[in-house]
Subunit: 196 residues, 2 copies
Amino acid sequence: MYIPEPFKIEDDKTIHEFISENPFATVISTIDDRIEATHMPIDRFEDGNYYGHFALNNIHSGIREEQEVLIIFTGPHAYISPTMYASEFNVPTWNYSAVHCYGHIKFIDDETKIWNLFQELVERYEGKEGWKLPNEERFKNLTDSIRFFEFKPKRIEAKFKFNQNKPGEDIESVISGLRNVGNQEAADFMEQITGN
Amino acid sequence: MYIPEPFKIEDDKTIHEFISENPFATVISTIDDRIEATHMPIDRFEDGNYYGHFALNNIHSGIREEQEVLIIFTGPHAYISPTMYASEFNVPTWNYSAVHCYGHIKFIDDETKIWNLFQELVERYEGKEGWKLPNEERFKNLTDSIRFFEFKPKRIEAKFKFNQNKPGEDIESVISGLRNVGNQEAADFMEQITGN
């Protein structure tokens, strides 16, 4: 990914938090020289592994493990109007955040491990006291139609492009501008990463 | 993209509206056997062409025009808890919308054409009465650091996965559930596409 210096993020903790907050990812690979992309949640666990699952009928369920995949996580983004800046010489741009993880997936076929992962994932989304996956055959059978995998990135590229190359007064002004157009999510994110 | 029948979108008008409402796209290709992705707005014009531009320093600015690229547009998405359904036998899932366009990009080097495209794009985002690109050298010079391209999809795959395979009472119930967790965007989109 093209990342000018001011937008480069290298702090692991920042990257891991971003991935936890934005788990809905895109898995991309070539298959027979064609680019294929699958949209799905990918969850990073404390052990540093990432977990996800394809529908068994998805062509990605048959991907060779030797083949490198790119997993993209994206976060807040926003069109930035030149009128949002304090200074005068500006053009329209788009602010955004993205983390690109390159690596290999490894399919998991051990049914006990899959069932445990499922339960952990459910607890992550539903909370400790929330809905639980019933220990019933009809729920266990669901795993027959998906293929679980783990992934450990070999290389990560992270970019938060939020006017960090501009003077502080422009940054403050753009944050206000984003609030004015109702994009609180991008405004909050920009505030947080620029320390404004 | 893996698209079960209930989630397949084939109506051109629906797809074009989706792209207009969600122009912040991802351009993906291989470059020297490595998958590269660039995030950027891509705008579809009435002539059926799509326009975008790379930073000149982006490796994608040097892509061969013969090489197929995938351009992904994504829209509203949401985690769906089993507790959101009216019926009982459900598991967590993610609802989402994505349009995959395959085709070739063609670089535009004609400066007059680029300038006109810039002005049209600005008007699209800023409105007829809004901010205008000043006809000044310092703004014209900006085009030196980017590479404009046009794109016409050869093949489009569109998927709106919003529980269309479920009974009406589940769909209504999930829409309410999304409103309860504050994801109005996904709720509105789901309401619109399911006619609920």
